[in-house]
């Protein structure tokens, strides 16, 4: 290897230490000196290696948790009482309850019985100014904070039904829903939002509109009766062709309705923590659950069908559609089972139990 007394100037060139004429002179030398060219290449290799090296394996889920932690801390700093405030994430931890996903069908039916009835205790009383009603699935991990400046709901996992009733006084703080991979800004509305395994899976708007911002995607507004569903991470199960409802004797109303006035089938409760109207949807859902739990699949299926007909937009409708599949499975009626399963997949293409339900159908050639 031939040495060159000017090799030290290579680094000077790279760090911008050589001015006008010095620089031009050394660049001329560089084009003819192999030792200096080698040195330049070595420095460039080192720089490239430093840029390319990926020392950390960042766990995507952990990054999303850190994101939630940051938003909580930011919100607390705005509220200005970070010291006294309840630790929001320890509250999230304590809310972790039975999780139905991944369980065997029979086990799921028992856990699903806790849906909604178990969710009540999760709700925190809101300040009087809040115009927001929240209902959560039993397994949902979420937290809620309210200040004069904003109301913040952080959803880590599970499903929330959220209703915002603005009085127009302008006194209610704006609502922001923090999601594992983005935010959802309420623009005065009623909507459902689901998150699963660190990502948002579904936003369905009943009334009003929301602004959805997801990481790496352009923000989008979702208007009344619009919905957004995350594309499946794995290839989605092949859906059965849509069958006209005439072929189904007890065809319930599809969840995604054609444009129609947003009329509620049952009056919504106002204010946080209120139970659904007694004697209505809740009683019927409970009765259907009881039928399922005592092993009367046929009766349970009929009751869930009626529930779906009467309360198609109830937050429990998806559960009812799923439980009806289980009820038919229990009663051993395979053609009804398949019909109910196809209904579930059609009405809830991003539903929580999509994979389980799809597995019950014979594969499509």
């Amino acid at each position: 290897m031939s040495a060159c007394p000017r090799t030290f100037e290579v680094e000077a060139l790279r760090d911008g230490r050589l001015g006008g004429s010095e620089r031009a002179g050394f660049e001329r030398h560089l084009s003819t000196c192999s030792a200096c060219a080698r040195e330049l290449a070595a420095l460039e290799r080192l720089g490239a290696a430093l840029c390319d090296s990926h020392p950390t394996s960042t766990d995507e889920l952990e990054v999303r948790r850190a994101r939630t932690r940051l938003l909580v801390a930011f919100n607390q700093s705005l509220i200005g009482r970070a010291g006294e405030a309840e630790d929001p994430l320890s509250a999230v931890g304590s809310r972790v309850s039975r999780r139905a996903l991944g369980a065997l069908a029979a086990g799921v039916a028992v856990a699903a019985g806790a849906l909604w009835f178990g969710a009540r205790a999760d709700e925190k009383p809101a300040l009087p100014a809040s115009a927001v009603t929240v209902r959560a699935d039993a397994g949902a991990r979420w937290t809620r904070q309210i200040s004069e400046r904003r109301e913040l709901i952080l959803l880590d996992e599970g499903r929330l039904w959220i209703q915002v009733r603005r009085t127009g006084s302008g006194n209610e703080p704006p609502l922001l829903v923090g999601l594992p991979d983005g935010e959802l800004e309420d623009l005065g509305t009623t909507f459902t939002v689901s998150a699963e395994s660190g990502r948002t899976t579904l936003v369905a708007v009943e009334e009003g509109s929301v602004l959805l911002r997801l990481r790496g995607q352009a923000p989008r507004t979702i208007g009344a009766r619009g919905s957004w569903a995350a594309p499946p991470e794995e290839p989605a199960p092949r859906e059965q062709p849509f069958e006209p409802s005439a072929s189904a004797p007890s065809a319930p109303v599809p969840a995604v309705k054609p444009p129609a006035p947003a009329v509620m089938t049952a009056p919504r409760p106002v204010g946080s923590g209120e139970l659904p109207a007694p004697g209505g949807a809740s009683e019927r859902f409970k009765a259907a659950m009881q039928a399922l739990n005592r092993g009367d699949g046929r009766d349970a299926a009929a009751r869930f069908s009626r529930f779906l007909e009467q309360y198609p937009r109830d937050p429990r409708a998806e559960d009812a559609a799923y439980l009806r599949v289980l009820a038919h499975q229990r009663s051993g009626d395979s053609s009804e089972l398949q019909r109910a399963a196809r209904y579930y997949l059609r009405a809830y293409p991003a539903g929580f139990r999509r994979r389980e339900v799809a597995a019950l159908l014979p594969s499509v050639p």
Binding site: A3, T7, A12, D15, G16, R17, A35, E39, A42, L46, G47, L50, C51, S53, P55, T56, S57, T58, D59, L61, E62, V63, A66, R67, R69, L70, L71, V72, A73, F74, N75, L78, D87, L89, S90, G93, R150, L176, G178, G182, E183, E185, L211, R213, R215, A218, P219, R220, T221, I222, G223, A224, R225, G226, S227, W228, A229, P231, V256, P349
Partner: protein, 187 residues
């Protein structure tokens, strides 16, 4: 899948996000985090040479950024600015470790209760090991210059040292790194 009633909107620029952040817009913080957390995290994990408190430093860097968002200079990418905040945080932590341990301790209390699911660090390559053996001043200088593209002049004013010190640090850092990577090949 996008259905009826969904309209995409154009994403905001970093400068717009910083403005909204200064006004207390939490959504802006989320967007800023999504854009730059990876770069900040990666920088910090190498700059600290140990991954133990990287999460807290990333967290602290973005929270500190919030506090100074009103003084953002309006440049197009907020990345150099965020990295600068992160480095300041890192150095302050070293200078008065006690006070910062206290602050970081309080940040830690916001962690979820669950066990830390972060996977153990992968085996570091030779380059990363060599990097971790550098003094902090040299490590920060070479990373900011070679990875973040800061000029020697920028480094000098950032660290408040003469530019000659920056050159010396860069030269020493390269020498040590190359000794580890290409033994016997130095001139």
């Amino acid at each position: 899948m996008i259905r009826r009633g969904v309209q995409p909107q154009l994403p905001a620029s970093d400068a717009e996000l910083m403005q909204r952040l200064a006004a207390g817009d939490i959504g802006a913080l989320g967007e800023l985090y999504d854009r730059h957390q990876h770069a900040v995290r990666r920088f910090l994990s190498r700059a600290t040479a140990d991954a133990e408190d990287v999460d807290d430093l990333v967290h602290g860097a973005f929270l500190t950024a919030v506090k100074s968002a009103g003084r953002y200079d309006g440049r197009e990418s907020a990345r150099p600015w965020l990295i600068g905040v992160a480095v300041q945080l890192l150095r302050r932590r070293r200078r008065s470790l006690g006070r910062w341990l206290e602050i970081l301790g309080s940040l830690k209390s916001l962690r979820p209760n669950s066990a830390d699911p972060r996977a153990a660090l992968p085996e570091r390559g030779e380059l990363e090991r060599a990097l971790s053996r550098l003094s902090e001043a040299k490590r920060l200088t070479i990373l900011l210059a070679e990875v973040e593209g800061w000029s020697c002049q920028e480094l000098a004013s950032f660290f408040e040292v003469p530019i000659g010190t920056v050159w010396t640090r860069l030269h020493a850092a390269r020498r040590e790194l190359r000794k580890a990577l290409e033994p016997g090949e130095l001139p």
